[in-house]
């Protein structure tokens, strides 16, 4: 670090100047420059910005993240620890945002399926990826997305041709490991499914060190053609001091179906924005989410579903369990545009507060400009049901075990939606591990 720069905009500008000097033949030169200018115009969001009212990014603004520092080597044992058991998959491993071919297990891919790192795609001048990036970013992006566009260097590009069903789940394993000074990485995932194609994508963000203060500022773009189907899982289990800002941006064509599961289970500050645009009739989006936070963790989910045309559907279910001094934010927006008749949108958010000092800020929003629609939303904040607790205690189950059991049941409503058994089982364990009296309730579940 040369001169001390206090202003985050200036810091990122100087980092940008450094980065751009290292890149030659960059197909994104213009996009990067424009994105950085847009970022400089707004700066990092403050609490006065409505979408960031409850999430203070001062801890990010205060740190001077290095964007080019290389990650120290990690060994296979560390990767195995965060893999999903014996899940048979196409796997790409990233360490601090950079693709690591040695650790990855891509396997053979059938024709019509292309899975590669973004760095490789950008280096290949025939890929045309430069022109396609940003295709799914709507108008509702924020300053961090601009930063991602300005700084992106790696990530994944997944393209599935029409009619092709990907045989195995695709897993992107983003690992974070401590560096000398806090590092920021800005990976981008670009997914494009052709007509009638289907795939399952797992993006897992795992922190290997509790001491790492790194920032992962990730963006996923999902482009679904007619009748395409994507099951998407995002699992954030950062180290104790990790910052994660991520967004999922989808565009959906006729009769396409996106199932998104977002699980935030660790990290210092975790924010995920999910924006999906239902652009043609019959498009459906299912949004499931679970957040379990403890200590001083902060987790924020902002979702937005744009119903742009008639006959589109969305179902959203988010649940949260809060302990310690943690704080959770949920903001779910359903936007029914003019003439998007016959929209069916349901949304629910339920929160369980287990400690006196935890805080929940929830805001389910509806913005509706059409009349023949069915939209509903609900949000609750509460505690464990006293009757249920009493029932269990009257059957000689001690209070703490009964509480854990009921909390587990609350969280498992979302976990049970996960179709991939190895991932579901692993998450069940993660959830169990967060509760007291794990051994006892292990017998019941």
């Amino acid at each position: 670090m040369n001169a001390v720069v206090n202003n985050p905009v200036e810091h990122f500008q100087s980092e940008y100047a450094r980065l751009i000097g290292e890149l030659d033949n960059d197909p994104l030169r213009d996009e990067r420059k424009a994105a950085l200018e847009r970022f400089a115009a707004t700066g990092l969001p403050t609490k006065k910005v409505e979408a960031w009212k409850y999430t203070d990014v001062q801890p990010i603004a205060k740190r001077h993240f290095n964007t080019t520092q290389a990650a120290p080597p990690i060994d296979v044992g560390q990767v195995d620890a965060v893999r999903f058991g014996d899940l048979d998959c196409h796997e790409l491993v990233f360490v601090n945002g950079r693709f690591n071919a040695q650790l990855s297990r891509l396997g053979d891919t059938a024709s019509g399926i292309s899975i590669r790192s973004l760095a490789a795609a950008l280096a290949d001048s025939d890929s045309g990826i430069g022109a396609r990036l940003g295709h799914c970013l709507g108008e509702n992006t924020h300053a961090f997305t601009e930063l991602n566009t300005a700084f992106l260097q790696d990530g994944a590009v997944i393209e599935v041709a029409r009619g092709v069903q990907v045989d195995k789940p695709i897993v992107l394993l983003y690992l974070d490991t401590a560096t000398d000074t806090p590092t920021a990485c800005h990976p981008r995932t670009f997914v494009s499914l052709g007509e009638n194609a289907a795939a399952t994508l797992v993006e897992s963000f795992a922190g290997l060190d509790d001491s790492s203060e790194n920032l992962t500022n990730q963006v996923t773009e999902i482009d679904l053609a007619d009748n395409a189907r994507l099951d998407h899982y995002k699992i954030v289990q950062g180290g104790g001091k990790n910052f994660h800002i991520g967004s999922i941006n989808a565009r959906q064509a006729r009769d396409s179906r996106l199932e998104s599961h977002s699980l935030a289970l660790g990290g210092n500050l975790t924010r995920t924005d999910i924006n999906t645009r239902l652009e043609a009739e019959g498009a459906t989006v299912i949004l499931n989410g679970l957040y379990m936070v403890d200590g001083k963790q902060h987790v924020d989910h902002h979702t937005r579903v744009d119903h742009l045309v008639p006959h589109t559907n969305s179902v959203e279910t988010y649940r949260g369990v809060l302990n310690g001094n943690s704080r959770a934010v949920f903001n779910g927006k359903v936007y029914v545009h003019r003439d998007a008749q016959k929209t069916d949108a349901q949304q629910s958010n339920a929160n369980l507060l287990l400690s006196k000092t935890a805080e929940v800020d929830t805001k389910p929003e509806l913005e509706i400009y059409a009349d023949d629609v069915k939209c509903s939303h609900g949000a609750t904040v509460g505690q464990l049901d006293e009757d249920a607790l009493f029932y269990l205690r009257s059957r000689a189950i001690d209070e703490s075990t009964a509480g854990s059991l009921l909390t587990y049941a609350f969280a498992s409503e979302v976990v049970a939606q996960i179709k991939l058994a190895p991932i579901r089982e692993r998450l069940e364990h993660i959830v169990l591990d967060k509760l007291p009296q794990t051994e006892q309730i292990g017998e019941f579940v």
Binding site: Y369, D371, A379, V381
Partner: protein, 482 residues
Amino acid sequence: MATQSHDVEALIKKRYEHGFHTDIETDTVPPGLDEDVICLISNKKHEPDWLLQWRLEAFRAWQKMKTPTWQHIKHAPIDYQAISYYSAPKSKDDAPQSLDEVDPKLLETYEKLGIPLHEQKMLAGVAVDAVFDSVSVATTFKEKLHEAGVIFCSFSEAVQNHPDLVKQYLGSVVPQGDNFFAALNSAVFTDGSFVYIPKGVKCPMELSTYFRINAMNTGQFERTLIVADEGSQVSYLEGCTAPQRDENQLHAAVVELVALDDANIKYSTVQNWYPGDENGVGGIYNFVTKRGDARGNNSRISWTQVETGSAITWKYPSCILRGDNSVGEFYSVAVTSNWQQADTGTKMIHLGKNTKSTIVSKGISAMHGDQAYRGLVRIAPTATNARNYTQCDSLLMGDQCGAHTFPYMEVRNNSAKVEHEATTSKIGEDQLFYCRSRGITEEDAVNMIVNGFCKDVFKELPMEFAVEAQKLLGVTLEGAVG
């Protein structure tokens, strides 16, 4: 259906029933706002110096503020220098002692509105502090209230006769610098109502004020302050109509409620100001700050509102539940038709233990109407065992309208139970068909269904108001179906 829409057009074109203009000589200051105007207002009302200073403080705070832009409404920028801040019927100078002395033209106006003061004394048992533009012209039933010890008078009189009470409570719920429009109101308010219910007194009748905006170009800045002392009870009704005019008029009122230990305040509003014509021209801008402070233990504040008028309604009657076991309620029906816009809702701030709040909001949007429910439920760390239930439903009529819900929930205590649910839908075709098949016209069927939709709120209104509200709803939605 073709003939139906023909009827619809005819109905939409129906003139605003209460749109007439009474020609009375008014004592109006020229448009513009500076410290001199505030001194002039204060001087004209023979106010004590502390109140003038209070106004000036508010004005200085206001000058530093920016017009808020976060609300979901659109309007042309307001030129605050083009508004005349004081207008009083001339006849105030020789104040009428009884109804007989009241300017007959005024009485005529009220008669057109269907509130003949002569009859009111005998009939309704309701004391009316009728506000015509900015000065109260007649107050009835004073003696009866006096016997009970209840103070119910215009704000100006309260300043003269009960300065201690006014000084103690004014601005204690909505401080001068609370928000842009509250600050403006605090600087230039001209009159309003003041109510004080002494300890242990149950107010013997419903108190009511009819507001009415009259003279051209005079923004109306009312200030209402209701204080319910320990163990007292009061029900207050507020109803509004305004004559037709083309220029948008700003109405920025402030209502403050204070409930001490065991006190109970019920505040009901039927608002039917001029909503603008079918092209969205004209109409009242209703930007109001209403807040109740349930200061004492076991106190209760209940807001009920039926908002059918105004070009733009923008208000959030709120409760600060400070006392232990205090209760806050908000029941609302808001209708936006033609080009009306509404951004309304409530705030329930839970501070005391065992505090409870209930929010029931029903929004009806028709034609180009656009409305938003915006609500906040905040459970502070001190509010052990707080409970909130929120329900907000929207009914959409026509494919050009909009309905939005922005509920904020901030929970900082794990013993709290907070629930929110909202639905948005159109009138069920099957419900309509059922009614039509039993020989009920479409218009009546829609009326029935809409009234059923709003029933949870109407049942909270005092009886006479409930009847009026149902009628009003029917009139407002005439022509909205087809």
